[in-house]
């Protein structure tokens, strides 16, 4: 995959440090989303041609992506462009606040783009219409083919300014693309932008692949492959496409995840039928055994400080979630509710663990504090599992499967997201059926 060109220059035009009057509370379900007007970015008439890029439409295309991002959060209500009262270039210089307030907008995004010397220069401003003030402004330069990322970066900056939290738009999701009948599924690794665009397939579908996960810098992916009918954890470099098996284990390795520093892979290794948790240091190639128990120990996930590991074990008889120190000591069971618990994943903020719960034949995605208290079930379905966190710890992505008929008909696998408030459940757009999503960290950090 082509290396993505990162932003060359970022500088602040001006930053109004006065406390904003408008702000968005994301800690609870937002039933009254903030009305925001995203003006098409003004395309500078001095812009030069660049490859096949339709420069005239670039300004409106970027603003449409920003609107879609905002709408997807459930926190913002992007207003219809037909009602807009000022031309993009004039609004960008200084909006007539009272006119924008007439269409009930509380915030306004304006911007300008210029393509020159094969570079895309972007500037944007966020205006507080109630206080009649500029809230934030930013300019940066990048390669023109990066224009979708420009929209995501602007979205992140505005989200950050209005919510006080880091955004999650300039990110990607890696997942398993599925096709074919239920009992003969073809599975490929696929990667896409968070909004469903730019889908690329990383494997051909010749062998079964499962559970891809990003490393902290989003350049590597660990996953399970049945290459040569030997299920093993593999490491894939997304840019070069090189793959290697992780470690030299005499049996199945599975359920891989990276440590927060990216130096280790933690996973299960099944020896004589019994699965325990191991780590492998990717530089030193040292394998360390973390659990040693006659039960199934799997689905390990590090805390963001690397000090603890949450995992899934049936040592009590049925699947429950346990937490231990990263050396395997001090194992504590944290789930005691009715039902079985699996797939613990530590929030990037460190405060919560997301999980799958199965009770009375129904599947739930939930969150709890890291000691198991404060369990909240966010969504119930026929089948859903494998939550993965947005980098700001506010949204979970997971997959669902539908109930199939007697010949397997009606079966589908799809990706969904939900806020940890339990609101804003959404189906993600994917080109094929999809499962096992893993959310990257912010690309432009």
């Amino acid at each position: 995959m082509k290396r993505i060109f990162f932003i060359l220059v970022i500088y602040f035009l001006s930053l109004n440090s006065l406390k904003a009057l408008i702000e968005v509370d994301i800690t609870r379900g937002n039933l009254d989303p903030l009305p925001i007007a995203v003006s098409p970015l003004h395309v500078d008439i001095k812009s030069e041609k660049y490859q096949n890029l339709k420069i005239d439409e670039l300004g409106i295309n970027i603003s449409s992506i920003i609107e879609k991002n905002f709408k997807g959060t459930g926190l913002f209500n992007p207003l219809k462009k037909e009602a807009f009262v000022q031309k993009p270039d004039i609004a960008h210089l200084k909006p007539r606040f009272e006119d924008w307030r007439l269409i009930k907008a509380q915030a306004l995004v304006t911007g300008k783009i210029l393509i020159k010397d094969e570079k895309l220069k972007v500037e944007f401003r966020l205006w507080d219409l109630t206080a009649a003030k500029e809230m934030t402004a930013l300019a940066f330069t990048t390669t023109p083919s990066n224009w979708r990322r420009v929209a995501h970066i602007i979205s992140d900056k505005i989200y950050e300014r209005l919510t006080g939290e880091e955004g999650y738009f300039d990110t990607r999701i890696i997942y398993v693309a599925e096709s074919g009948p239920k009992d003969q599924r073809i599975k490929k690794l696929a990667i896409m932008d968070q909004d469903g665009s730019n889908t690329k397939y990383l494997t051909l579908g010749n062998e079964l692949v499962l559970t891809p996960r990003f490393n902290p810098t989003n350049q590597m992916v660990s996953y399970l492959s049945y290459f040569r009918n030997m299920p093993r954890v593999y490491l894939l470099d997304i840019e070069t496409g090189t793959q290697e098996v992780v470690g030299n284990f005499p049996g199945m390795t599975f359920a891989p995840r990276f440590s927060p520093d990216g130096k280790k892979i933690i996973m299960s290794f099944a020896e004589d039928g019994n699965s325990d948790i191991y780590t492998m240091d990717l530089e030193k190639r040292v394998v360390e055994r973390i659990t040693n128990h006659s039960s199934i120990d799997t689905s390990p996930s590090f805390s963001p400080d690397g000090k603890y590991i949450a995992f899934n074990s049936d040592r009590s008889g049925l699947q429950q979630i346990y937490v231990m120190r990263s050396d395997g000591s001090d194992v504590k069971r944290i789930t005691f509710g009715k039902g079985i618990y699996g797939t613990p994943v530590w929030s990037p903020r460190g405060d919560l663990i997301a999980f799958t719960k199965v009770r009375k034949g129904r599947f739930y995605i939930g969150v709890m504090r890291t000691d198991g208290s404060g369990e909240r079930l966010l969504t119930e379905n026929y089948y859903q599992e494998a939550p993965s966190w947005s980098p700001n710890g506010r949204v979970l992505v997971f997959y669902r499967e539908t109930k199939a008929g007697s010949k397997g008909e009606g079966f589908s696998a799809t990706l969904w997201s939900i806020d940890i408030t339990g609101y804003n459940e959404r189906k993600l757009t994917t080109k094929t059926d999809a499962s096992d999503p893993s959310w990257s960290s912010l690309l432009s950090k």
């Binding site: 239920k182 049996g251 299960s268 039928g273 799997t298 049936d314 797939t343 007697s406 096992d436």
Partner: protein, 158 residues
Amino acid sequence: MIFNKNLKNIFLVVFTTLILSACSTAKKSGDMDGDVYTGKETVKYLASGVPDRVFFATNKSSLTTASRATLRKQATYLRKNKKLNVTIEGHADERGTREYNLALGERRANAAKDYLMTYGISGKRISTISYGKEKPVNPASSPLAWSQNRRSVTVKVN
């Protein structure tokens, strides 16, 4: 004392029999005993009278009486065909999380392998692989299909 102890044992036996019969009358329906598949619909044969697979209860890898009988037939067959090697594929139904199911399939395959080994088959002749919930034999979403999918299958490799 002895009389007492005997009485207690008899009581225990009667009591367990009652429970077991209650279970089997309550749950035995069609091709399932409890939730273990007992039918032949999906079964293939390594040779005449030697079924290729055994079935498991939900989340379990313990062998039922019927499973052990099937595996003893496989052991006899493997003893007669000394050059034959097999792979035991372990599977789970679709009602669990993917990673746990991979572990469960591995445990089921090894339960069958261990049993064959206690009947004198060398472990070198038996490899195992788990497919978790990835390869259902019956793609339906029904208790019957799930019971058919909770299985370990002995497959000839040469």
